[in-house]
């Protein structure tokens, strides 16, 4: 080593060597080589551990699956579940416990009725609830969220109040899992978290909640009007979606008020909701709102008019046919086509073939499809 260094030292002749000494470069080479070797070693240790974990899981799976399916499908709901002694040892291993919990969750998602009830009993009897409660208390966000998910999937409804407090948690994942859990436990009544949530409910979360609500029989939502006046604009948007999906015709006036909301996404959702619950009077309201709307909402209004406009609205739609924007032209033509105004399109095409002849043909082709 010293010989090598002496060689390099003797060959450094410029000012560069004052700052970048051969020792420094050589140490750098040794450092990076050591790090590389350590990374490779760590990669292989990790792969080895992963393989070991897989084998442990596989062994547990073989042992557990048969017993779990037997307990789930055969045992009576009331009957005391006897745990074979070999499992008592297996469940001392946290990996085995987590694997069993995950397995039960998968099964719980797939079954309902007595089988689902048996899965829940098994979860409690094996003491997994304690694991989930411990996770719920964790200060690590993803561990806490995991705890919420497990408790909710296993119908541990007694935790509702504790989890409800987390529906407005500052951590996004904890918050969304808590909201999902509340719906899981209380169905439509769980929507009460909309009263208090101050953080934005993302569109993604809204999709998840709507998918989840599909599992419950629709109920009255007496607070809908209140949610439509929420200070949280995403609560209004979600409430508008609830109105749309569950056809809450009774609060159409309140939905129409949302067309004047200062936030553009709220107005857009209000247009889309009116599309589902509106009537012939909605056309007038939408046309009044049209001129003050932005481009995207104008398109949405024209699409809504295709549903409930009538002959009296032909002049408005014909005027929009002359809009300089091709997309607006086409949507206006589509609305005309949908409400029996193909003749009007033909007249326009006769007067001005370019581009209206093709637009008229396009609309007719769409109507034929």
């Amino acid at each position: 080593m010293n010989g090598t260094l002496l060689y390099f030292q003797s060959t450094f002749k410029t000012s560069f060597e004052e700052y970048i000494t051969p020792e420094l470069l050589l140490n750098g080479v040794l450092l990076f080589t050591s790090i590389t070797l350590s990374l490779v070693l760590f990669t292989y240790i990790y792969l080895g551990l992963k393989k070991k974990k897989f084998l442990v899981k596989d062994r547990i799976r073989k042992n557990l699956e048969l017993w779990i399916s037997h307990v789930i499908l055969e045992e009576d709901d009331e009957e005391v579940i006897r745990i074979p002694s070999k499992f008592i040892k297996i469940f001392r291993n946290p990996l085995a416990r987590q694997y069993a919990i995950d397995n039960l969750i998968i099964n719980k998602k797939a079954f309902s009725g007595m089988v689902a009830s048996n899965i829940r009993n098994l979860y409690q009897h094996l003491g997994f609830r304690k694991d989930s409660l411990r996770k719920l208390k964790s200060r690590t966000w993803y561990v806490q969220a995991k705890g919420i998910q497990e408790l909710s999937m296993m119908d541990q409804n007694d935790q509702l109040i504790r989890v409800y407090r987390l529906t407005n948690s500052k951590n996004e994942l904890v918050r969304t899992e808590a909201q999902t859990a509340i719906i899981q436990w209380a169905g439509f009544n769980g929507l009460r978290f909309l009263d208090v949530v101050s953080y934005a409910i993302s569109e993604w979360q809204q999709v998840q909640l709507l998918v989840q609500l599909k599992n419950f029989t629709p109920q009255d939502m007496p607070k809908l009007e209140r949610w439509l006046s929420s200070k949280n604009s995403t609560v209004i948007i979600f409430a508008l979606k609830l109105v749309e999906v569950y056809q809450q015709f009774g609060i159409r006036r309140k939905v129409e008020e949302c067309l004047l909301h200062q936030k553009e996404p709220v107005r857009r959702q209000a247009i889309n909701t009116l599309l589902k619950i509106g009537d012939e009077t909605s056309a007038e309201i939408l046309i009044r709102a049209y001129n003050d709307e932005d481009y995207a909402n104008k398109i949405s209004i024209l699409r809504a008019l295709a549903v409930f406009a009538n002959e009296t609205h032909f002049p408005f739609l014909v005027a929009e046919l002359s809009n300089s924007d091709d997309h607006i032209k086409l949507e206006a033509a589509r609305a005309l086509g949908a409400i029996g105004g193909v003749g009007v399109l033909d007249q326009k095409a006769a007067v001005q073939p370019e581009p209206y002849a093709l637009i008229a043909k396009h609309i007719k082709a769409e109507l034929l499809l």
Binding site: F8, F12, T14, S15, E17, G28, T43, L330, P355, H362
Partner: protein
């Protein structure tokens, strides 16, 4: 001190400073990417995509897939796209004036009929010869557009004009998508509540040697051939480390043209894809970002580390050379077009960090390395080389490169672990050992040739012949 030592010192210090800065960037990228990847993995483990994919409330998407002379594989490719799990989907295939039977094969296979169709001219594009749809309800998602040949950017612009949905996913027609790829790709658009997400990219993986049947990936395998295997390592570094880190900084300049999702509204407002560059994918992202920066609209370009899309990488030196030449030209053209942003504080991270990084370490890298190599030859001819410094410096850089590659492989193993066999991981690491001596000089040389071609005003894409999935390696 004479002029010779002045030149020597200048070159030595410039190259040294350049290298050290680049190494620091790489270190920061590696560290910065891990946090985001870890967070994403934790968060993603809670999402059950299967229950959401059939929801009518997920946003509607239009897939835009340009096709040029793809007759041999087009039916299989379209079948693959149509089979992707997503409820609100439209698949727009744009036949860019193919000289072969691409269009006829589509007409026959999918029972297509030419429709009267008014094409909205929202972004500039060449003439559309016809729009085809199927009367068979099974293929109701499919729209085939036949147009005059105009290149990939022009074909995508036609797709933008035809697309009926608000989000567009631009894809190479021969890519193989993971079943839940679209839902994962669209998630950032509707998950973000603070700022507007304008584009999302996902990890592109190399499909060479993988088992693919009927447009579906059945088994992941490490490529048998050297070049694709080398590109596996290159892609892991670029996507899992580089793009994750830049995305976390909101400084991402590139969403791969092979698979990316865009907010159509912003694409139209920016004028769509620019025809006059071979780097249209990068140019569009840069232009979209610039548009929003100049209007002070908060926005984000997102990136997700999931392997979503599998593509065939060049397996021959000839095709790889064309690809790298084109990438080099595309980068220079894009940065030249948006030079106003260079160290311009008005553009924030984009102007002060992303653009300068791309300028110095992506665009200039082949030139700096090439000049360094020429300087080495000249100086060694005149006996000016301090071989001790040179050898130590070379080892220093190479050893750092190995560290970076080993870290990337570790990240891959810790996250998605696509190559599960230990021997595959070893093969990947060993292939990485050859990179500084074989792959890297080749790529640098063709990057430099890209400069030369740009000066000669060469605009062609260069034919990208693909071997096709399921074909034995040549």
């Amino acid at each position: 001190m004479n002029w010779e030592s002045l030149i020597y010192d200048f070159i030595t210090y410039v190259i040294f400073a350049y290298s050290v800065t680049l190494l620091i960037f790489y270190l920061l990228i590696a560290i910065y990417s891990t946090g985001d990847a870890r967070r994403y993995m934790h968060k993603n483990s809670f999402t059950d995509y299967k229950t959401l994919v059939s929801s009518p409330h997920v946003p509607s998407i239009s897939i835009l897939a340009p096709a040029y002379n793809e007759g041999a594989t087009i039916i299989e490719n379209v079948r693959s796209l149509l089979s992707v799990y997503y409820s609100n989907l439209e698949v727009v295939i744009i036949n860019d004036g193919s000289k072969d039977d691409t269009l006829q094969k589509l007409i026959d296979a999918y029972d297509l009929e030419k429709m009267d169709f008014f094409v909205r001219q929202q972004v500039p594009s060449k003439d559309v010869r016809g729009v085809y749809k199927s009367r068979n309800p099974v293929f109701r998602k499919l729209v085939v557009v036949d147009k005059v040949n105009g290149g990939k950017a022009d074909a995508l612009n036609v797709g933008v004009n035809i697309a009926s949905n608000n989000y567009i996913v631009c894809i190479d027609v021969d890519c193989v998508l993971e079943q839940d790829a679209l839902l994962k790709l669209v998630k950032p658009f509707i998950e973000e509540t603070e700022v507007r997400v304008i584009a999302t990219g996902g990890v592109i993986r190399i499909a060479n040697s993988c088992l693919i049947e009927h447009g579906k990936l059945l088994k992941v395998r490490l490529p048998l051939q050297y070049l694709p295997r080398m590109q596996v390592l290159e892609y892991i570094r670029a996507f899992l480390l580089g793009r994750m880190a830049w995305s976390r900084l909101n400084g991402l300049l590139l969403i791969s043209g092979a698979f990316g999702a865009f907010d159509k509204d912003i694409v139209i407002k920016c004028g769509g894809y620019y025809h006059n560059t071979v780097g249209e994918d990068m140019e569009l992202v840069v232009r979209m970002r610039r548009y929003l920066e100049e209007r002070n609209i908060p926005y984000k370009v997102a990136f997700i580390p999931d392997p979503l899309c599998w593509t065939e990488a060049p397996a021959s030196y000839k095709i790889l050379a064309r690809q790298r030449n084109r990438w080099s030209r595309g980068t220079i053209e894009t940065l030249q077009m948006h030079k106003k942003m260079f160290f311009n504080p008005r553009y924030g991270v984009l102007g002060m960090l992303s653009y300068p990084y791309w300028f110095f370490f992506e665009m200039c890298a082949p030139a700096v390395e090439f000049i360094g190599f020429v300087a080495l030859l000249v100086m060694s001819f005149f006996g000016m080389i301090n071989w001790g410094t040179f050898v130590l410096f070379l080892f220093f850089i190479i050893s750092f490169g190995y560290t970076y590659s080993a870290f990337a492989v570790l990240m891959e193993v810790l996250t998605y672990n696509q190559y599960k066999r230990r021997t595959d991981v070893m093969k990947l690491l060993l292939t990485g050992l050859t990179e500084p001596f074989l792959f890297h000089p080749f790529v640098v040389w063709h990057g430099v040739k890209g400069y030369i071609d740009l000066i000669r005003k060469k605009k062609s894409w260069g034919e990208m012949t693909r071997q096709g999935f399921g074909q034995p390696p040549a």
